[in-house]
């Protein structure tokens, strides 16, 4: 393990190996692939939020000159309700099929119904207008309160709530009820001297990746179908697409393009199965690219939430009880991350008595997809707002109160296991000791602190490292690089082999050229694929030692390997890596290291953020004037990219807290499906985002790595929310804190 280890390459800020291509525009993303004979696919989308499709007539569209193929839900072979795991909550294949192309009912504004392939994109669009659909418009359900009411219009006549004490007899919009507990919640509140309780609301927010979904596909009858697409997980694309289309996995090759952002939103499929149907029917390669309107209307955002949280504490600051009620919008089909909200909400705290209930609720909006630590930001916002309120009630510093109740090694989590070593205390201390925390506030400013927790996952990764005769090598891995992870792979392999990183080229191979690797998400890549890279590199070293041993006619144990050189300990001969590789043909063939692992022991990453805001009392505008993100990385392989994850998560969370939301008309039509009005932070909105990397090594990774990608989006909602509350002296409960809302709070009208 790595407590006091000195690294040769780990911890440096190398230039990423794919950098040249990225800064010159040469890197190829989802929409950058063209094939000979290619045609364009476009999708007809529902103009209604909730309607029955009474009839569908594609005959005029089919007859339009230049139209080559049309696809509808009827083109899926019969699909079962087999469960599939997605990034955040489980879903079924049937739901996926109905989301990709609507069957019988449209369930949200923008729901895909028909796809048309034509010689040009313009012709395809013209043909969409020739499709005749007769709708019976139904009343839409647009929020959890309405959806959960007994008389609510139902999205699915066959949805019966799971997780209730008694099996229900009436259908509902509540898909699942979850419940988790520790200790005795009533006893916990009975012990408390101070109780705080409040309801909160967070809006639907989109991951906001700048690159829309895109794919270029070719269906071949001889079984060589190919999909090029922008995705976080090309093996998952292969699996979902093959299942939807009744294909064998061996018939479908999926190539992951470079990806222009995902954040969880590209862990499912929208276009790929549709494009393959069009390619099959037209006999041509098909390219499909979403526009921004489609991305915002029809791809899965992060869930909106309502929550009720109640906390109790003794006068001495011991929190004795934490209770919660969460209802998350799943969108049109079940599968919000509310269970993950239940698992994470109270987890930064070592409290004996906890109770939380969570409801997965369908509404007439786009089916949600994973969004960076799915389910955690919503619930943690509410909890952290109240912990800050509790601190005020108890007359305690908010960091100090958290330190007193912080989860640590041995703390019992609400979802079952006790923690191994974790770094929340270290993060809280770093926040407390930071220059930011010592800085005094000015007039009209407020400060908020918040913590956050994410499990991080391990899972399956496969790596091969092929060494060339000149001592250079290729690291063949299968984790699409969404943030610079291939640079870390290069460094971890270099460290394990004792050679310069520049000698090794990391590539992300397609589904036929590398063994199965789970998708890039869950903060798993540097941890799990990194672990596989290290194991494959160690395999290379073992082989190199054996080759050298055979050249010198000694045993491998008599060969020392250091800094890229093999030394015969029984003699004095030396061979460089290049020399061993040059002779590989004669000593057994090309040297190729391999690892196929299912990584376990992913270490959780805790984060603590500090936010100072200044509020303009006349306009309600909130400016973030100072921001510090503290987070435990275990061991930062490439510090700049770790900082980048902290800063990126903070920016998304700040946007969610201050301005991002979906605006719907009374009929459920989305009104702000563009970057002008779905306003994510721009360069002039933010200050420099200071970062503090805490390193409490994860004993289960050879270099101590903890995933860091997700935890950073969790604290900002509470940190910003409480900073505003503190600046204006009025309770904040609803996000986003856009100027009209802040002004209303200031003026006392809520």
């Amino acid at each position: 393990m790595s407590e006091a280890r000195e690294f040769k390459y780990i911890g440096q800020n190398t230039i990423r190996p794919d950098g040249f291509d990225k800064v010159t525009g040469r890197a190829n993303y989802g929409a950058d692939m063209s094939l000979p004979g290619m045609v364009w696919g476009k999708i007809l989308r529902s103009p209604h939020a909730h309607a029955i499709i009474k009839s569908l007539d594609i005959s005029k569209a089919e007859a339009h000159p230049g139209v080559l193929a049309i696809a509808t839900h009827a083109d899926f072979p019969s699909v079962t309700d087999e469960a599939i795991e997605s990034g955040e909550g489980s879903s079924t294949l049937l739901d996926l099929a109905r989301n990709v192309l609507a069957k019988d009912k449209v369930l949200y504004h923008g729901h895909a119904i028909v796809a048309i392939a034509a010689k040009t994109a313009a012709i395809a669009e013209q043909a969409l207008a020739l499709v005749d659909i007769d709708y019976e418009v139904l009343k839409p359900v647009l929020d959890v309160r309405t959806a959960m009411a007994a008389d609510a219009p139902l999205l699915h006549a066959d949805m019966f709530t799971q997780g209730l004490e008694e099996a229900p007899t009436r259908a509902s919009n509540i898909a699942v009820r979850h419940e988790m507990k520790l200790g005795d919640i009533d006893a916990g509140f009975a012990e408390a001297d101070v109780i705080v309780e409040r309801e909160f609301y967070t809006p639907t927010a989109h991951q906001g990746y700048i690159e829309p979904h895109a794919c270029t596909v070719r269906y071949d009858k001889d079984g060589q179908s190919m999909v090029w697409c922008s995705t976080q997980g090309h093996f998952d694309v292969r699996s979902s697409t093959a299942k939807l289309l009744g294909m064998k996995l061996g018939q479908l090759k999926v190539i992951a393009s470079e990806i222009g952002g995902g954040f969880g939103g590209k862990t499912t499929v929208y276009l790929e199965p549709v494009a393959l149907i069009l390619s099959r029917k037209s006999g041509r390669p098909v390219k499909m690219v979403m526009n921004r309107d489609e991305v915002l209307k029809a791809t899965g955002p992060g869930s909106a939430s309502r929550s009720k949280i109640k906390l109790g504490a003794k006068k001495d600051g011991t929190i004795t009880a934490m209770k919660g009620w969460l209802a998350y919008e799943a969108g049109a089909f079940k599968g919000s991350p509310v269970m993950l909200g239940c698992m994470t909400a109270f987890t930064p705290y070592a409290v004996a008595n906890m109770y939380i209930e969570g409801f997965d609720v369908v509404v007439n909006k786009a089916k949600v997809a994973a969004y960076r630590a799915p389910g955690a930001p919503q619930a943690e916002f509410a909890v952290e707002m109240l912990v800050n309120e509790l601190a005020v009630e108890l007359g305690r510093d908010p960091i100090d109160l958290r330190l007193q109740n912080a989860a640590k090694e041995g703390t019992q989590t609400i979802y079952g296991p006790k923690f191994k070593r974790v770094g929340l205390v270290e993060c809280l201390e770093a926040a407390r000791d930071s220059a930011h925390y010592k800085q005094a506030l000015q007039a009209n400013q407020g400060r908020g602190i918040a913590a956050g927790f994410w499990f991080n996952v391990g899972g399956q990764s496969s790596v091969v490292i092929n060494m060339n005769p000149d001592g250079t090598g290729t690291i063949v891995e299968g984790s699409p690089d969404i943030g610079g992870s291939r640079a870390s792979m290069q460094m971890m392999a270099a460290e394990a082999m004792g050679i310069a990183p520049g000698l090794l080229k990391p590539i992300i191979a397609d589904t036929e050229n590398v063994a199965f690797s789970q998708g890039t998400g869950g903060s798993r890549t540097t941890f799990a694929t990194g672990m596989a890279v290290i194991e494959a590199a160690e395999d290379v070293v073992n082989q190199v030692k054996q080759r050298a041993a055979s050249v010198w006619n000694v045993t491998a144990e008599q060969v020392d390997w250091a800094d890229g050189v093999a030394t015969n300990m029984a003699g004095e001969e030396r061979l460089t890596l290049a020399e061993v590789c040059a002779g590989a043909e004669r000593t057994g063939g090309q040297i190729s290291g391999r690892a196929n692992i299912n990584a376990r022991g992913a270490g959780p990453s805790f984060a603590v953020h500090l936010c100072d805001v200044q509020v303009d009392k006349e306009t309600g505008k909130v400016d973030v004037v100072r921001y510090t993100a503290v987070q435990d990385a275990g061991k930062a392989i490439h510090p700049q990219y770790v900082e980048g994850q902290y800063q990126g998560g903070a920016a998304q969370g700040i946007g969610w807290a201050l301005n991002e939301e979906y605006v719907f008309s009374a009929d459920g039509l989305m009104e702000n499906a563009g970057f002008l009005d779905y306003r994510i932070p721009v360069a002039s909105d933010l200050p420099m985002i200071d970062t503090i990397i805490v390193e409490v090594p994860n004993a289960f990774h050879p270099y101590g790595v903890r995933g860091v990608g997700e935890s950073g989006i969790i604290p900002p909602l509470g940190a910003v929310g409480y900073a505003v509350e503190s600046a204006i002296g009025a309770k904040v409960t609803d996000l986003p804190l856009s100027p009209p809302r802040v002004l209303a709070l200031i003026q006392g009208n809520t």
Binding site: T24, G644, Q647
Partner: protein, 160 residues
């Protein structure tokens, strides 16, 4: 179907001709007709800056310019930045400062930064942030981008 129009232009100093429909944007032409995919589409409505190019030296969103407007003009795209195998200072600083994670916004930002530093070789942090406010980045939170831009400015000034 309307007849296509024949356009004569210059892109990154190369004389270029293409055919396009009247409604095609410069972005469509660059990416689909000329296979110059370095310029990216993020929104198609001029709100994200991923398609930043210059027209006669003026920074614009290619999705808001019609292909026919390229007639007789000088177009500058990311493909024209730096030499064939040599990065310019801005590109180097972006890499040095890790000012990109997924990289989709990077071509647009490099073109915009070049336009900024041509107009204002010594911007303050605030000036840089406001000039680049039209280039959205979802990955980085802008911190490292701004550092790269200010460092590029300082380096270019020092070399001047």
């Amino acid at each position: 179907m309307m007849a296509k129009l024949h356009i004569t232009t210059s892109i990154n100093g190369d004389a270029t001709e293409f055919l396009c429909e009247p409604h095609d944007t410069l972005l469509d032409v660059l990416r689909n007709d000329l296979q110059m995919t370095g310029t990216k589409e993020g929104c198609g409505s001029g709100d994200c800056g991923a398609c930043s190019v210059t027209v006669d030296g003026r920074l614009v969103c290619a999705c808001l310019v019609l292909g026919v407007e390229a007639e007789g003009r000088e177009i500058g795209t990311i493909e024209g930045v730096g030499d064939n195998d040599k990065l310019n200072v801005i590109q180097e600083k972006f890499l040095e400062h890790a000012a990109l994670q997924c990289g989709i916004c990077t071509p647009g930002l490099v073109v915009s930064t070049q336009a900024l530093l041509t107009l204002n070789p010594d911007p303050t942090e605030a000036e840089a942030r406001y000039f680049l406010a039209g280039n959205l980045c979802r990955c980085t939170g802008y911190d490292k981008i701004i550092r790269a831009v200010l460092d590029a400015a300082a380096t270019m000034k020092g070399a001047a």
